[in-house]
Symmetry: D2
Subunit: 121 residues, 4 copies
């Protein structure tokens, strides 16, 4: 059973991800990022590498692709919310797409994910 990410970790680990473009999904304990590549080929190269790490972690994204855009949402089914696995997958994905444009017109600040009790209340 995967453990829900503790509050202390959320406060230290989510803000750096927010800086790279990850945002909170409204109404879910999940993070989302949208990459815009220069071509389908570039998007697919990214997805091919992300697929490898997802399978290695045995933790898979919810993702969609339309031509050069890849839209990724991460959460952990097991614990119904963010776990350490989501952070690991997010950081790996960030390494695979250093040059892509990031869309930032969605979601909410990750700060709203920082307090588990507040979120569930």
């Amino acid at each position: 059973m995967t453990q829900l990410l503790p509050e202390a970790d959320r406060k230290t680990l989510l803000p750096p991800l927010a800086e790279t473009g990850w945002a909170a999904v409204p109404g879910r304990d999940a993070i989302r990022k949208i990459w815009k590549f220069r071509s389908f080929s570039e998007a697919w190269g990214f997805m091919s590498r992300a697929a490898l790490v997802a399978e290695k972690l045995n933790h898979h994204p919810e993702w969609s692709n339309v031509y050069n855009v890849v839209d990724v949402t991460l959460t952990t089914h097991d614990c119904q919310g963010l776990s350490r696995l989501d952070l690991d997958l997010a950081k790996a994905m960030d390494r695979f797409a250093p040059g892509a444009e990031i869309q930032r017109d969605h979601g909410e600040p990750v700060s709203c994910l920082c307090e588990i009790h507040a979120r569930k209340a």
Copy 2:
């Protein structure tokens, strides 16, 4: 410029696709199919082959993936609706996933896509 699929072709070409599980997307001139594979690996093998044919046709799907499920919507941006390219891509995808389970609990019958004028009126 890609041509919108003529009515005559819709009436002959869409019903066979409907039988394999393609349905009309409500409010769009688009078709959609949802495959459920046995694993992420099997889903990814399918997507990897679909990516090849999409790039070859220079016609790409709107698709999403969550673990073993692949959800594909096809339409042609150029002509803002279904074109021959969508049928070609749909048929290729069908060939790549003979054993997968098909979800049929979405969309509308393709018959609603068979009359261009009625749809646009």
Copy 3:
């Protein structure tokens, strides 16, 4: 450090692989199999799934591809010979290509890999 496959395991585990088309590589403690698919697309679907399992096992094949042919050699660098990882990867690959044609005109019977001491002598 990965352990070299013990003799007892070789005698029970290699023959079933030999039946599916794996053969001994002359002069090496390695096994090899050659798949012939119907197209590059089919070969690539196979390789894409094999890549996932290789990365998951952190154990990668020596492989080459020419159009519809995929030629795979497995051995473990760490222990300079066959290990349990090679068997795991071989069996996974076999599951990904049930319909492909297997070329059997290469290599030697796996029986020559069954005795570690004899082989090294």
Copy 4:
């Protein structure tokens, strides 16, 4: 039928490829390049993009992969030698791996491919 690359084109088009690391394969009218990436993941991302362009061109490489190394030989079966397709695929591959290390300890200068008659004599 694909046309063998004419001498004039060889003299102008092969030297720029040689500068990026492509070399002549001894005894064949073919070019070869070896990339060394930082990981299997990076190698696989490259191969995944190369597969797309190969399928699009309907022209496929002879290639092998061992962990982070990808070894590519290009020639055209149709005309039994280099064609324009090989140059197109070579240039596409070069674009997909800007940061990789190139091994240059193999092959012969491409200048030996520059004269078709001399080569065949």
